[in-house]
C-alpha cells in the first residue's frame, strides 16, 4: 500500500509469455519520462534479460513463483529492480562470455547485455530469499523548472 509517488510495480507469474508485457510497460515508462528512442531500446533489452533470467534461472519456471519488477522514476535516473524467488547465485563466479574460449557458448551473455546497456547493475540476495538486481539508466539533464522547488516532483514524472 505504501509506495513513493514515482514508482510503478509489476508482478508476473513465471512465464516467458509475460515478458513482452514487461518490456511494453518499460517502453511506456521510458517514453513518458522522455528517453530517446535509442536509450529506450537498450533499457527495454536490459529489462528483458533480467526478467528472462528471473523466470528461467531464478524461479525455474515455477508457476507459483512471481517476478516482481519495480520502476522508480528519479529526477536523475530511471531505476529498475527485478526480483525473483529462487535460490540466488553469486554473479562473481560466472564465466566471462568475452573470454575467447567462451565465445562459442550458446548462452551466458545476458548479464553482459545488462551491464552494457545500463549505467549501473547490482546484484544482491534478497533478505527473504531470491535475487534482486537493481539497474539504473541516467536521464538526460532536466531543464531547470522556472516555478521553483515545488514543481520538481511532477517534473520527475512528466519530462
Amino acid at each position: 500500500m505504501m509506495l513513493a509517488e514515482n514508482v510503478v510495480e509489476l508482478t508476473i507469474a513465471s512465464q516467458l509469455e509475460f515478458i513482452d508485457l514487461v518490456t511494453t510497460l518499460t517502453d511506456n515508462v521510458t517514453r513518458m519520462i522522455g528517453f530517446d528512442e535509442e536509450s529506450a531500446y537498450w533499457v527495454n533489452m536490459a529489462v528483458r534479460e533480467s526478467v528472462a533470467n528471473a523466470v528461467e534461472h531464478g524461479n525455474k519456471y515455477d508457476p507459483q513463483k512471481t517476478v516482481d519488477i519495480r520502476f522508480t522514476i528519479g529526477v536523475d535516473a530511471l531505476r529498475v529492480t527485478v526480483r525473483d524467488h529462487g535460490e540466488g547465485f553469486d554473479p562473481s563466479t560466472l564465466p566471462d562470455p568475452l573470454d575467447p574460449n567462451n565465445l562459442l557458448n550458446p548462452a551466458g551473455r545476458g548479464i553482459l547485455y545488462m551491464r552494457t546497456f545500463m549505467d549501473q547493475v547490482e546484484y544482491e540476495r534478497h533478505p527473504e530469499g531470491g535475487m534482486i538486481v537493481t539497474m539504473a539508466k541516467r536521464r538526460a539533464p532536466q531543464p531547470i523548472s522556472e516555478s521553483g522547488e515545488g514543481a520538481h516532483k511532477q517534473d520527475a514524472v512528466r519530462n
Binding site: Y41, M45, A52, L103, P106, G108, R109, Y113
Partner: protein, 114 residues
Amino acid sequence: MQLEIRERAVGDVSILEMTGKITIGEGSVQLRDAVSKLLDAGRNRIILNLGGVTYVDSSGIGELVSRFTTTKNSGGKLKLLNLTKKIKDLLMITKLLTVFEIYEDEQTALESFQ
C-alpha cells in the same frame, strides 16, 4: 508471430530471410527449427538475411552462435547478411563480429560459397 522466416534457394545455397525478433522462446526456436530442416535435407550452405530483424536478445545471439556451430559441424557454413546497426552493435559487444562471416550484399555472400 515474433519471427517470420522465408526460405529461398540459389543453387545449393539456402537463404533464410528473417523478419521480426529473435528472442528467448518462440523466435529462437523458429530459427533453430529452420536451420535443422535445411541440414536434415543436406543443405548446409546457409545465409541468414537479418535485414528485417529488429531485435535480438542474448538468447537469440546464443541461438545464432549455436546454428553457426551446428552447421559447421555438419561440414557446411552459415553466414550473415544485411546486419542493421543495432545488430552490429550487439555482435561487437559480444565479440562475435569476427566469429561470423558477415556480408553487406547477397551477391558477394553467394559468391563466397564458390
